[in-house]
Point group: D2
């Protein structure tokens, strides 16, 4: 009754919470945990403003989804309160399965995607709430017959993407990522239970794709962020491998070696979920701080690198790096006398970043023409800039170590 119903947001002004169950979910420890997970992982090492949380993003995505539902209703699309509530629940919880540092460490603690863990959380919450999330879950997994609800939650033009582009560009201060979310949402419609965009918003949709493309190149795949992520990954692999340190948090110790255990069970058990729910950025940063003083030279070196922002060098190329190139650097590292050969093998990394910016093969964004026809977006605009990305990288300690 005296429940918080309005939340300040620097982007949208005020976010309203239209259904009481949403408030209860927000107050749940599973959801509050998202306050301790940075939306953009380590990007703040490049863009110091980018320290916003998954918590805030989830609220923002819910807000946009509510705008979209209200706008659809003004177009005589029939949406019951029960459906609206379920849709907002699903989008509010869509990322609840993210773990420490979001994408950077995905599948490192449990060998499944964050969506699968989100689903496990939703099912646990549904138990607690005696089935009140049934419809939301059905929408989330795409089983509900009116497909546009799922498309609002997860598709090539979902409210998740609109919010994260908005929010990430806002907090990082990269204005070029700004999108016309308001125009796009206003132009959404539904034909045969499928989400469509009115033709006159085609340019705004194109601009949204181009902003997303830009954000990948300029921000998400920034050389320095990538360096930090590689270091973090190396570090976490090391500590999950040893995991004997009594100073690590309990859930962190639990997940050491769990991947093997998981393989046997092949599903997220309630014990796993309970431990996972205790895990967030803090466990990792704490272990970085503990290990900075470690006797293990490589681990302490990695921890210091991240904490003091003394990051690795990164080189990008369109083709793969020769093994000679990699070998040479490893030799150099070894010859500097700080690290052994096996350590150098770990420290000098190559890899490939791949990304399909727009999938024109299936589940395309649909455009509602003035004459009532529904067409694929790709029949309206060229999508050459959206071609798949395949970027090879080389990442290694700087030589003036």
């Amino acid at each position: 009754m005296n429940k918080l119903k309005i939340i300040n947001d620097p982007i949208y002004g005020l976010i309203r919470i239209p259904f009481p169950i949403l408030y209860d979910l927000i107050q749940h420890p599973y959801f509050q945990r998202l306050r301790r997970i940075k939306q953009m992982g380590l990007s703040h090492l490049v863009y110091p403003g980018a320290v916003h949380s998954r918590f805030h993003h989830a609220l923002g995505a819910m807000h946009l989804c509510w705008s979209a539902l209200q706008s659809l209703r003004t177009k005589s699309i029939d949406i019951s309160d029960q459906e609206a509530e379920a849709c907002l629940i699903a989008i509010l919880l869509h990322d609840i399965g993210h773990g420490p540092f979001s994408h950077a460490l995905e599948r490192k603690f449990l060998p499944v995607s964050h969506e699968e863990i989100s689903l496990a959380f939703m099912e646990a919450l549904n138990m607690e709430m005696t089935g009140r999330l049934d419809l939301a879950i059905s929408m989330f997994i795409g089983e509900y017959e009116r497909g546009f609800f799922h498309q609002l939650i997860s598709s090539q033009l979902d409210m998740d993407r609109l919010d994260y582009l908005n929010r990430d560009s806002f907090y990082s201060g990269v204005v070029e990522g700004k999108i016309g979310y308001d125009r796009i949402i206003t132009m959404l419609s539904v034909v045969k239970d499928e989400l469509v965009v009115e033709e006159k918003a085609v340019f705004s949709v194109e601009k949204y794709l181009s902003s997303r493309h830009f954000m990948y190149w300029q921000v998400y795949l920034h050389r320095t962020s990538l360096a930090a992520e590689v270091i973090l990954l190396l570090f976490v692999e090391e500590i999950l491998a040893k995991a004997d340190n009594a100073l690590y948090s309990e859930p962190l110790r639990y997940f050491a070696g769990l991947s093997a255990k998981y393989a046997a069970e092949d599903h997220v058990s309630s014990e796993m979920l309970a431990q996972y729910a205790r895990l967030d950025d803090i466990d990792i940063i704490h272990s970085l701080k503990v290990e900075r003083e470690s006797d293990d030279k490589m681990v302490s070196y990695l921890a210091g690198s991240l904490l003091d922002r003394q990051l690795f060098e990164v080189i990008f190329k369109n083709s793969s790096f020769s093994s000679d190139f990699v070998m040479e650097r490893r030799q150099n590292i070894v010859s500097q006398g700080h690290f052994s050969e096996s350590e150098a093998q770990k420290l000098v990394r190559i890899g490939l970043e791949s990304k399909t910016f727009y999938n024109a093969k299936s589940s395309e964004i649909k455009i509602l023409c003035k004459n009532g026809e529904v067409k694929n977006l790709s029949s309206f605009i060229d999508l050459p800039r959206q071609k798949d990305l395949n970027l090879h990288y080389f990442c290694a300690p700087k030589l003036e170590l």
Copy 2:
């Protein structure tokens, strides 16, 4: 040479780093540590966007200070490069002495103000840099003869305040806090080495004071933030008292009981500083997570309160609370059977928040009249809304515990 010289900022666009030594200081672990200290402590529990760091604020204040110095130079005020560099160093480092959660835990680890610790850090850095911070330190402590440098760093209209009002209102999404910093900075001048504001900016200065006043009432002293701070303080007092938990971080264990030790030495020793430099928000949040599972019921209750945002009730009054009122609540708490009398004594708190918004008695903001005279701000505007704040609060667990 290949040094980072430009940093994205959502508020000012781009922040430039005009002198190489500033870059070196920013890269120093002492300064990088500020990335792990939230500028607004626990305010993000009310305003979820308010998760920005001291690191970012320090850069912002430096940026405004650089603007001010450039503007003063266009008015034929002689400022050497050496002075400019020193002034920027001082403002960059002015908050480096802040510890976990900034003001919320001030004096809890070391019984001195954050400014004193900032000074200790500056002196340590000055040693490392063989005296290159001499002038900056002289400006910081107000000894340099040209007083306006100190006033830019610390006064009733300093660049610190301009940035934190800007930044805190931006990130919290409380637009009413917005100030005309650009106009104020442009209207700064110097008369007899003292900072003055040209008369035509009087309204902007008044508006700046009123925004600051507003931010205190609406944000900094928000009921819910205060509740969270009281809980945090209680929690930290408890753990510093026991401090026997091997799971705490090493610096946290170091500071348990240090206040006594400090009293003996009466200065910040280099050992203390080294330990303090390892302390940030993470140590505290980690201990919250550890203690949530604690057997100590009160400590575990406090930890859960903060982590899951199940906060206390707060009542504000202009006069003090009667001891009967306090007693009654303590009795209620005890009678619920969860806590002992001594625990209830700790949990039910009263206190007083005091604040002088504008000191019209000394060090007033000076106005440069059109006729060349310099007057006090208080001779231009009424300052009744700036009268001192004395707010009594009562803070206790909600009864429906």
Copy 3:
């Protein structure tokens, strides 16, 4: 059916037009005419961005009013569609009676306030639309029994003021005028058909008053704007007096000497209204351009002053100017040989700007306390900065003419 329903707005993003009749009214020539009337008169001579029109302000006020109505509905305040439509009509048309340069020339063409002319327009439109504006008119003039509709349209906290403060500060680039309109609107409620604001928005309301106060001092009463307005007034008085110039527009010639004619009839006849509807900024600026080449030296001087921004000097004082002071300047003007004594009499002006910022005597802003009581705003906050303004001004050609 294919009607424009969405309008881009740099402040609110998109403005939706929720009822078809609003669209028809917007398309009406009476309303389109507002495109040719600058919202802020001559302020753009100081703030070059402040060139927005009454047209845009009227849409913005309608938008805020629609937000307020929607917010009130979520609080179970019963508002029928008919009432909502009427309220939006009334606020859309509240300023339709403004003439050239808005307030600067108020009562110069017809000796009545712009509200009275707005009402005449509404009545004419109501005729055309066969009574569909009956309820809107009843709300506009305050006769409708549910008073809060009138208060949304016209009161000390109406949607008109919220929009113009927002809009004027946005376009002029004076950020200190920014207000938390979204928060205030969200906190509106209705008790016994009277508009109230929930207690927790008291600071936002105080901040809104202080922003309004600031905008008057910094923008609306800016010395240079006032100079321009005085010149414009002088010019218009002169041309309405001669009015024999065949190059003037027809409606301008019509209004020459109309004040006398009006006195006889004592109401706005349909002929007057029809001529008034043809009058906008263009007629005046055109006559300025025509008269710049005039043989009448004073008129040509005034026209050139405005067109080329060679404005008069203005002095402000809290007390009245002595007649000696005025006389001396007149003598100086005459002695320069450009103007006769009678011209100097006109050119050297004194006057008084008066403004009640907040009327604490009647129709106060009402605050809804947490306990359900309704109190006056003035019982919550000191209003000293809102004391009445009485500013004497002296305005004359600069001596280095």
Copy 4:
């Protein structure tokens, strides 16, 4: 001395005027006239916020140019004060030759481009100022040997474009047009007196091109704006043809039939320039208002169309319209009985809008690679979306006339 040196701008905050001669030029009637020319012609009929003036744009472009020069200086590019002043003069005046409604009526009064008229104005001002604009003119026409000054003023990445994209997207509220001007300007450099952009700004430059592309499709070539422009053009052709109306302004009458006169002289005479300097949006809007009451049915119809925003229908196609299609509509118009055949011929128009978005054949944007090499932008990015535009349009009165 008491000269205005700072101008508020909602986009950049404050615009400073760094050299006194700039202030004198801004105060000149030639420049003040730009206050009466809308930057975006008739776009405000679609985007009501887009009412900003050429005056404001010119100041904005000067501001960006000053930022660019200051940034270049920090990179040890030698720029004398004399060069800086000249460059700012040139960009301040680059658009001073625009006439009523900017591009919409270009070449209608004088059969030359606005740049040629800008040059004529600069030469006239140079006469008045005894040669102080010599260097600025040399930069403007591209004769000065250090080519980067000209490139800042006019090239595919000049400060003009950066400002108009910024400003037009800001005022129209079309956020997708936002560009990272600050980043681009910071990354500018000069190699062999040629303007280059550092490689790491390639994405920002790409985004700038894509924003420009977007603004053309969404705003500048908006169907409704085009309709309005076609009507305006028709109207002006008609009135320049008759031009016998004593109610037209004097300069308007002067330019009736001037194209012929000009052909004989083949240059902009000082008389022509003096008359042109008296011409702005007001003359045209005034004549619209005069002609709305005209006996000439077509002219009065055109005037009413624009003033009351009852615009024509526009159809866009990639190929040309068949003459049958055009004929049929003309027949329909005639058969409605309002217009004669010759009038219908004028009213039903077809045409072609062409635009080269990026010229990859000459004068490309140059990129400075990390290794010091300078390459064309087109060797970095695909430019398919920048392919030339060739859009056929059909524009005619709506049939439900």
